[in-house]
């Protein structure tokens, strides 16, 4: 995957000897364009797609119902109660935003590292980021109790003369998440512009032509434009990289800055970031495997992509395992009774079942990815990814619920049981995410066409 000095632009690929190719042989500029664009423009709407959309929209209906009831009655319909006042809302927030991080990792960090195999998965991974951040963003708003006053979190000159409290990580979160959402959206859009121009020329329906044309802004592929474009693209990748690391770091500060046993630890930022990328790549595989199958894109999303993603999951999974191990070690090494009790409570307390499930799902089962045979089997990869997604959700459950339900004073201990409305909102956001992805793959090219063209051997300019 390393590239030699002969490499020309940031988008070209020089593969390692005996590695599966990033693109099946026999492709040309035209065939790449047609395969990707026709999946949107020519392919009739299938029953499977309609069924998927229907399920997604049904779950959105459930979300609307749950949110309406929440607005009418208040957060009391959820299982949250003092001392566990965070519950599902914050678990789901952290889970979703973590999933989003893999999109930025693929589009920005792998671009900077010249991992050109990313070119065929970055587009839908970025879309995944956008929709996951949208799902994540709902939870703090809904959790607020009075979500119509959400704008109070922003610094604006109010008639009350008060301002946000900038020493609080919760305010940092507002800045981190809204910046992340904005930058992810523009990064995605900028990446789409040249492909929207392709769609403009290829669309046959006048309305489609107009819409794509409007969004393409009149892109005409001028060499001067490309130069500015690439300068911006690499810089956006450069600033999105520290941004994505900062976002989950700030999310972990929500915990680490508090003095709860099990939260107040310096290992949280790196371990949260690794966990985010871990679950994000699992979601990438959960999306990529059906997309390449149903849209016949095996020639572009090849086994190399799936295997590389599996390797990244293995690596980040080990970082997460290290995080768990060190959490336990420090709890005893610290000499703090409360930290030690927290760890024993996780292992043997009322929620210990979830802790051991988490170890099984996040640490033990994914170790089968060491075997090349498993990495080469899409069914295995798909199932392991689902397991990791559940495992990462459990991780946040364990962190939030065990610490809050058993803090310093036994007199303020409590129990947390989610209600059906908690599950309804979680299922609803999954429906929202699925619906958005279903609509996205039908109206936008789900693979970056121009970056795929640049990967072809004939894209190279030969010196005379």
């Amino acid at each position: 995957m390393q590239q030699g000095p002969e490499e020309k632009t940031i988008l070209q690929d020089v593969p390692w000897p005996d590695e599966p190719p990033v693109m099946a042989p026999g492709q040309s500029f035209g065939s790449v364009t047609d395969t990707i664009a026709d999946a949107v423009l020519q392919r009739p709407i299938g029953l499977g797609w309609l069924l998927g959309l229907f399920i997604g929209m049904t779950l959105i209906g459930l979300l609307m119902m749950a949110v309406t009831y929440l607005f009418l009655v208040g957060v009391g319909i959820w299982g949250i109660e003092i001392p566990v006042a965070w519950g599902f809302a914050i678990i789901n927030f952290v889970w979703w935003i973590g999933i989003g991080h893999a999109g930025t990792l693929i589009s920005a960090i792998l671009l900077l590292l010249k991992q050109t195999w990313r070119n065929s998965i970055n587009r839908f991974a970025e879309a995944m980021t956008l929709f996951a951040v949208a799902c994540a963003g709902m939870f703090p708003l809904l959790h607020m109790g009075r979500p119509w006053l959400a704008y109070w979190m922003f610094p604006y000159p109010s008639s009350m003369g008060v301002w946000p409290q900038f020493r609080s990580p919760l305010v940092w979160d507002v800045f981190a998440v809204s910046t992340y959402a904005t930058i992810s959206a523009v990064f995605w859009y900028v990446g789409l512009v040249p492909d929207l121009a392709t769609m403009r020329e290829k669309a046959t329906h006048p309305a489609g032509k107009k819409l794509y044309g409007l969004l393409a802004m009149g892109w005409r592929g001028s060499a001067r434009h490309w130069k500015n474009y690439e300068a911006l693209y690499i810089l956006l990748a450069g600033i999105a990289t520290p941004l994505v690391l900062s976002v989950h770091t700030v999310v972990s500060f929500d915990f680490a800055v508090a003095i709860m046993p099990g939260w107040h630890t310096t290992i949280f930022p790196p371990y949260f970031v690794a966990g985010a990328i871990y679950s994000g790549f699992a979601m990438v595989l959960v999306l990529a495997i059906p997309i390449r199958h149903f849209y016949h894109l095996e020639g572009m999303i090849t086994m190399r992509h799936l295997q590389n993603s599996a390797k990244i999951m293995l690596a980040t999974g080990l970082i997460v395992a290290y995080g768990y191990a060190f959490e336990a070690f420090i709890a005893f090494y610290s000499g703090s009774t409360y930290e030690r009790f927290m760890m024993q409570n996780r292992w043997f307390g009322q929620y210990s079942m979830f802790y051991w499930m988490l170890i099984l799902f996040n640490i033990l089962i994914p170790q089968v990815l060491w075997f090349p045979k498993i990495r080469a089997n899409v069914r295995w990869l798909f199932s392991i990814s689902l397991v990791i997604l559940v495992g990462m959700w459990l991780e946040r459950f364990v962190i939030i619920v065990t610490s809050l339900s058993r803090d310093y004073l036994p007199s303020s201990w409590g129990h947390y049981t989610p209600t059906r409305w908690d599950y309804a909102v979680l299922a609803g956001t999954i429906g929202f995410f699925a619906t958005a992805m279903f609509i996205f793959i039908r109206i936008m090219p789900s693979i970056s066409i121009f970056e795929m063209r640049a990967l072809l051997p004939e894209a190279e300019v030969k010196a005379k």
């Binding site: 020309k8 632009t9 988008l11 040309s28 035209g30 364009t33 610094p155 003369g161 301002w163 409290q165 900038f166 020493r167 305010v171 940092w172 800045f175 981190a176 910046t179 904005t182 930058i183 523009v186 900028v190 040249p194 121009a197 392709t198 020329e201 409007l214 802004m217 009149g218 892109w219 005409r220 592929g221 001028s222 060499a223 001067r224 434009h225 490309w226 130069k227 500015n228 474009y229 690439e230 300068a231 911006l232 810089l235 956006l236 600033i239 520290p242 941004l243 900062s246 700030v250 500060f253 121009f450 970056e451 063209r453 640049a454 004939e458 894209a459 190279e460 300019v461 030969k462 005379k464």
Partner: protein, 182 residues
């Protein structure tokens, strides 16, 4: 194009090529022949093409830098003004200007401003959005978003003359040459 029939003036001459190498060679030849108002068009970025048309340095990085500095300064300034001047608030006896706590929003606003300035700057420098352009009057030009490469010498170039430039472009061995009406 009815307009083009009324006025003989054209936007330029457009040559079509099959490969990026041909395009870059043609652009180099056009530059060597003294043409300056010409541009190369391709379906994906070609580093050599922008060099060959004489466009060496993009101003986007400068805009991103300025945006980032502005964002950082306004981020920190906002928090300083709020917490030290407009509404000083004692939190746990810490100084009003607790700069370590201000770093996170400062950083986020640096990124936000840098990114947005870069995006708007890139589109502004490229003169986009421009949904209509004379080049779109040539039907073949739509293939620039697919698999063909084009070189357009504009009529506004002082060296441009219909016959001479046409002969020059034929010497580049393009697959076709067309006039670009306004």
């Amino acid at each position: 194009m009815s307009h083009a029939q009324l006025s003989p003036a054209i936007y330029g001459l457009l040559a079509e090529f099959d490969t990026p190498t041909d395009l870059v060679d043609a652009a180099k030849a056009a530059h060597a022949a003294g043409y300056r108002k010409f541009d190369a068009y391709s379906p994906f970025p070609i580093e050599e093409a922008s060099e060959a048309v004489g466009f060496h340095k993009s101003r986007v990085p400068l805009i991103v830098l300025v945006g980032g500095i502005l964002g950082g300064a306004s981020g920190y300034g906002l928090q300083y003004w709020i917490n030290c001047i407009s509404y000083p608030l004692n939190i746990g006896g810490k100084p009003y200007q607790s700069w370590p706590a201000f770093i996170v929003p400062t950083f986020e606003l640096t990124i936000l401003f840098a990114g947005l300035c870069g995006v708007f700057g890139m589109f502004a420098l490229n003169g986009l959005p421009m949904p209509h352009h004379p080049l779109f009057n040539v039907d073949r030009f739509s293939l620039v978003t697919r698999d063909k490469f084009f070189l357009c010498v504009e009529a506004a170039d002082p060296k441009f003359d219909m016959d001479g430039t046409q002969r020059f472009m034929e010497s580049l061995r393009p697959t076709s040459i067309s006039e670009v009406p306004h």
